[in-house]
Amino acid sequence: MPRYARNLAIALLLLAVLYALDYLVFDPGRRMISPYVARIIMLAGINITLAVSLNLINGFTGQFSIGHAGFMAVGAYSSAYFSVNYGKGIAEGMGDGALGWAVALLLATLLGALVAAAAGFLVGVPSLRLKGDYLAIVTLGFGQIIVVFLNNIESVGAARGYSGIPIVKSFFWIFLVAVLTIVSVHNMVRSAFGRALISIREDELAAEAMGVNTTRYKVAAFVISSALAGAGGVLLAHFDGYLNPKSFEFIKSFEILIMIILGGLGSIVGAVIGAIVLTVLPEALRGFAEYRMVIYSVMLIVLMITRPQGLLGGLDPFKGWRARNRAKTRTEAEEITAEDTRDKESVDKATLGERARDTSLGEGDTRS
């Protein structure tokens, strides 16, 4: 079967699975699972989008952004404004059915992602020309500015919050965006573009010496990451139908940052697991009442002491499985040699950055 046909088949199968789950399990009319559990699963889905997109800039490109909530807010508010003023009309024009809302939400998502990307571009161009911690400061500032702005824009409710946004709580839509985010980041990281990003993370000077236009690559990664964060914000805006600037303060950025640090910087599976754990953990601990946040914090501290690189930092969870699939006798050193010959099989297996870490860091070692 040709490659594109296989990919198309996988994509269709994925859509079918998501739709079937949405229809059979998450339809509130069927009472298959409690709305409470459904809500937590969907929130985890939104958080996966946010964590994986932040991982692209913080984990793979090695730039420290702490303003992710700001881009999320831009996407959330712009799409909410669109949905309130135009989306309803579009959906009703198409019969107010599921199809109408799907189109309206698709447009809202695209718009939110686009506006967030534009914001990312504005912030990224001046600050990513610099090296070091400047991006952290600029993004932190941007996050604050957005909150102040939103607190003062009367047409989106200012400090009172923006209510009356159409609620489209769709498992299908949330996880479609999450899966698209994972797939696109995964493919990006494994492409020449991604290798350039990883080379920037490992050594910016060396990357530049090798002909990588570091500013261009950093800005591109930053814009993509912002756009995906904006898409996450869109989902959040239509989840509860209410937005408040307070939800996008820097604490939210740090929550997303903790997800990827917990999961392991530079690991997509890690980011996904981090997002799920940090969404589920506070709810799972609800039975402990006032000790809940204490236990939550202690668990995070213990984890960071025992695994400073995060749950899955510095390792590929499926590496062992893939290795066994290929050749059981090959040792890891031989694998790396094999990669260097760039045979078709192993090109997509490991990246430049992973190899660098494989050789320089043993398991359990910390980066200093």
């Binding site: 409690s34 609620i167 209410y242 408040n244 307070k246 939800s247 749950l311 390792l315």
Partner: protein, 445 residues
């Protein structure tokens, strides 16, 4: 590899733990318990408000349980912390209505979190009563959403009416915290109501929370010669403004809102804030025996004087329990209807009725700062129909349209407003010589 599996295993077990949380389906509130869900910010940015409120609610529940419960059923409070986060508040209320089967919900100090949670309670037809979310939008979320405190526009109107009518002031200055929604909201209402009552706002100056030097603004204010200054801000800034105003020789009374309510006001401001007035939900120095008993019980139990949030939450809990008792059922609709028909509920924050917007209608306390930082009740302001700002659904307020002071003559205590006033009467009388101003000469029979 082993660690990967441990990590994956941990995640899986967490998911399993969340999915298997115990709890019945909707309507599982039967049996011999009345389950009431409480969601409050016990951690996070507004933790101190949430804790005070929860204390008040717990005390109210224990009182009712000690007296035999509601129609023989004990109250079971389900108190959950939302980490001062709107999303989490919505998650908790989803859990309340789908897993825990609560009969009613009491919750949130902050309007943003009540607004996020309200549609969920509304859809599930479980009544939700907020003790202290003052944003007018909260109760517009549906007919199962109630509020047992006054809203900001009413508070602003009370400030303006008190200055114009009770103090007889004509020229007002405004000092506004530009960054603060609460402050600018009150500014808008004062600007609307004060001129309607024959006054004039002669100058508006602004500051930002955290400023320490107000000399520029105060010089301008002094130049325009006002006879009252409205400062709708928070106590820290207000105390400093008062000090610098007195240093500049501005002696006119200062009037503010419930943001002033803190012992810190006098600690920082000292003599400068004495003789100023602010609106509040209640005063622990109220001589009403009901209030004194509440203050004493609270102090015995928690070791501190209850603040306004504890008092409003205590009232909200009792209003909810009273409604469940009258409904004599755990059905959401029956409790909602009972809540809506709450009539003259005697709370520690005043006599409570609900208007057609399901917002509480009750007199607003005007507190006077006395020597030694003691807060005395100057009067209970019932906002007149004419003073009611537009867009607040003030229709229900027109029935008690007598100003507290004019109604406070002994013979006039026939309507609801007058009854609520008996405490203020004695208080105003005993303190009459401690102040100057038109209000007291009127209040003394």
């Amino acid at each position: 590899m082993k660690r990967t599996f441990i990590a994956l295993g941990l995640t899986a077990s967490l998911l399993a733990a969340a999915a298997c949380q115990p709890g019945g389906g909707p309507g599982a509130g039967g049996g011999d318990k009345v389950k009431i869900g409480v969601f409050m910010s016990l951690t996070g940015s507004t933790a101190q408000f949430g804790i005070s409120s929860t204390n008040g609610i717990k005390m109210a529940a224990d009182e009712v349980n000690a007296a035999g419960g509601i129609n023989g059923k004990q109250i079971e409070l389900n108190v959950q912390d939302d980490r001062s986060d709107a999303q989490e508040a919505a998650t908790i209320v989803t859990k309340f209505v789908t897993q825990d089967g609560v009969a009613g919900i009491i919750g949130e100090v902050a309007s943003s979190r009540t607004i996020a949670a309200a549609p969920i309670a509304q859809n599930a037809k479980v009544p939700l009563l907020t003790p202290s979310s003052t944003n007018p939008d909260v109760t517009k979320k549906g007919d199962y959403i109630f509020r047992s405190c006054f809203i900001d526009p009413v508070q602003g109107a009370a400030m303006a009416q008190f200055a114009a009518k009770s103090l007889g002031k004509k020229r007002a200055a405004l000092m506004v915290d530009r960054k603060n929604d609460y402050s600018t909201g009150l500014e808008k209402v004062i600007n609307e109501v004060f001129p309607k009552l024959g006054g004039e706002v002669v100058i508006t100056q602004s500051y930002q929370e955290g400023d320490t030097d107000f000399n520029g603004q105060l010089t301008s204010i002094k130049g325009s010669n006002p006879d009252v200054i409205f400062i709708p801000g928070y106590y820290g800034d207000v105390a400093l403004i008062a000090k610098q105003a007195r240093d500049k020789g501005i002696t006119v009374p200062l009037v503010g809102g419930d943001g002033w309510d803190s012992a810190q006001l006098y600690t920082i401001g000292g003599q400068a804030v004495v003789g100023s007035y602010f609106t509040n939900h209640y005063s622990p120095y109220d001589t009403d025996p009901k209030v004194q008993k509440f203050v004493k019980d609270y102090q015995t139990r928690y070791g501190s004087i209850p603040d306004a949030l504890a008092a409003t939450a205590y009232d909200a809990a009792h209003i909810m329990f009273d409604a469940v008792k009258r409904a004599n059922s755990l059905d959401g609709k029956a409790i909602r209807d009972a809540l809506a028909t709450t009539k003259d509920f005697p709370g520690v924050t005043g006599t409570v009725n609900f208007n057609e917007n399901r917002d509480a209608v009750k007199p607003i306390m005007m507190i006077r700062v006395d020597d030694g930082g003691k807060y005395a009740i100057q009067e209970r302001v019932v906002v007149e129909g004419a003073a009611m700002p537009t867009g607040t659904g003030g229709g229900a307020n027109t029935n008690t349209n007598t100003n507290a002071n004019t109604a406070a003559t002994p013979g006039a205590n026939t309507n609801a407003a007058g009854n609520a006033n008996s405490g203020a009467n004695t208080n105003a009388n005993t303190n009459a010589n401690a102040n100057t101003g038109a209000a007291n000469t009127k209040a003394t029979p």
